[in-house]
Amino acid sequence: MADPFREPPDASDDYTRRGFLTWISVGAGSVAGLLVAIPSVAFLLGLRNIPQVWANVGRADDFTVGETRQVAFADPSPLPWAGVTAQTAAWLRRVDQDRFIAFSINCTHLGCPVRWLPNAQLFMCPCHGGVFYADGRVASGPPPQPLATYPVRIRDGHVEILTSPLPISGR
């Protein structure tokens, strides 16, 4: 039986032919691989961007000056299977007659949902005990930054919040 690993007898003559076949094989394999990999990876990296639209969260008159209340708005173009996860909650504070602040509920430490304690006038995070003042400044604990806010406006007597990406407070 011939030894498959033996050098061919006239290796020098065959060298260019074998080199060519090697090149063809590696090249064909790479092209086939890239044909599959490029669209697959590109699809994986195609991240969904939430459209930025003004979402109505209620009549301005329903919010009392000095009060902070939980509001919710929906992803303006939710995936049909998103269910409840298409919702986003925010803490809306009416500062005075004309001014509203919409705080993200995500603690700037690691993103857990902060809770508003109306009597204490503080936001408190259940995960690591980060605390924020009513105006979003850090009061104590690990959060590195004040609570993120959403752009907010009043149109035709209604409060509108601009749907925005999840605040990432890494830096």
């Binding site: 996860t85 857990c112 949902p113 902060v114 104590s140 990432i168 407070s169």
Partner: protein, 452 residues
């Protein structure tokens, strides 16, 4: 192949069962995972309901339980296996690649545990995805992009769960199969390491010849002379997992993954509690570096170990620092797991108001002060007579320890982990709160200060 010769291993023969035990549990996870995936709905809006459906079925409940206890067993067994290999220095020549493929499997197992707890997709599952994204967001430069890659978009939602499902069910297991194949091939190719003998250092020039002489002199066929122990231990572990799954069942599903239910207190499963605790207790400035560099340092340690130390003594008594490393790592994880279980840094936001028996008077300034103590959130972080949180100091005997002025200063100025209450309390609220705190005493006050 089955009957290849392996070292007899005499006294330490039972130490060699943990790798195969991990493999047994991995197969258990594959089988129960396939069963679960046949009914699980990979949709952010339906996954939770499909899990309720699975759990309502008596067999579905047991399968979920097996998969959950199996996950815990994987973590424990691969941990013991790693420690065994490290202590016996089986990573040395010629088995460096055995170690490196094993290190890859350790990392992949941890990733499976993380993605698996997320697929439960209850409230904690949802917030785990958010917390994962926020942690990824701490990477310099690419943080925001990485965070969005984790969420599959700019917000958590419909696309998020599918991404983790794909990772947990296809991507990571495919890598694990490849790594397990390589790991087993290398175990056969290099042979199972013999128990270390003090004073017999590994020398790459003579090792293989010596190993083969050992096998010829004192080897036994793997099947069944050595393998029976693997099978018996594997059976015992499988039986234990199934019994636990039937007796205790799967982890309770929390509330649905609704982001508008803000009264959520996400907690990781037990295998990540120590990390949760570590992140809570390290100094604030170091946090970003620990999140980024901690895993890198551990990964580098695993990769460099067999490259830096491929030769020399194998016996743990000749490598005392290896024992120190194991004790330090296992001790740290155990210690922080315990603390993570208590989570002293988490405010107890469900603490009930102090009962009358603790407060004392039911009307008057002290009773009013107790109400302020609760309303202003003090009790969420401070214990009084066993009620309340443990983030801040216990105030059961605050009246014995602090003067009125010291209390007032602390309340108004706050501290690193306490908000300032300047402008938050009316003069009357401040007054009754101080009276309440001064009434917190273990010892009756001396007559002079009682007149205050």
């Amino acid at each position: 192949m089955l009957t290849h010769t392996v070292p007899r291993a005499r006294k330490s023969r039972w130490f060699y069962v943990f790798g195969s035990a991990t493999l047994f549990v991995f197969m258990l996870q594959v089988v129960t995972g396939i069963a679960l995936s046949s009914a699980y709905v990979t949709g952010s809006g339906q996954a939770y309901d499909s899990l309720r459906f699975i759990t309502a079925n008596p067999l579905g409940r047991v399968i979920r339980g097996i998969h959950d206890f199996g996950a815990s067993a994987m973590i424990v067994l691969i941990g013991i296996h790693t420690v065994r290999v490290y202590l016996m220095a089986s990573y040395k020549y010629p088995r460096q690649m055995n170690w490196l493929t094993g290190a890859g499997l350790l990392l992949l197992t941890v990733l499976m545990a993380f993605t698996g707890q997320l697929l439960r997709w209850d409230q904690t599952g949802f917030w785990t995805a958010v917390v994962a994204a926020e942690q990824a967001g701490k990477a310099p430069g690419i943080g925001t992009w990485l965070a969005r890659f984790v969420l599959a978009g700019s917000v958590p939602g419909g696309a998020t769960l599918s991404r983790f499902f794909s990772a947990h069910v296809f991507f990571i297991p495919a890598l694990m199969f490849a790594f397990i194949g390589a790991h087993l091939y290398l175990v056969l190719y290099n042979g199972i390491s013999e128990p270390p003998v003090s004073g017999q250092p590994v020398d790459p020039r003579t090792y293989r010849a010596r190993y083969h002489r050992l096998l010829e002199r004192d080897g036994i066929p793997f099947w069944p002379d050595a393998a029976w122990r693997d099978v018996v231990v594997g059976l015992a572990i499988v039986v234990a997992i199934v019994v636990l799954a039937i007796a205790i069942g799967p982890p309770e599903l929390g509330k649905p993954p609704d982001p508008t239910l803000v009264a959520a207190s996400p907690r990781p499963d037990w295998y990540f509690l120590w990390y949760f605790a570590l992140l809570s207790l390290i100094p604030k400035w170091s946090e970003r570096w620990v999140i980024l560099i901690g895993p890198l340092v551990f990964g580098l340690f695993l990769i460099l170990l067999p490259i830096v130390a491929p030769r020399g003594e194998r016996h743990p008594f000749r490598r005392p620092w290896s024992i120190i490393v194991v004790v330090a790592i296992v001790g740290t994880i155990a210690y922080y797991s315990r603390i993570g279980h208590m989570a002293p840094w988490s405010p107890r936001m469900d603490a009930p108001p102090l009962p009358a028996a603790v407060v004392g008077p039911t009307t008057g300034p002290v009773a009013d002060g107790a109400r302020v103590f609760y309303d202003k959130g003090c009790e969420f972080c401070h214990t009084v007579s066993g009620y309340g949180g443990i983030r801040g100091p216990d105030l059961t005997d605050a009246g014995d320890r602090l003067t009125r002025d010291q209390m007032l200063t602390r309340i108004l100025s706050g501290a690193e982990n306490m908000p300032s209450y300047t402008g938050n309390l009316t003069p009357r609220q401040t007054e009754v709160l101080l009276l309440f705190l001064q009434s917190r005493r273990r010892f009756p006050p001396p007559p002079s200060s009682a007149a205050h």
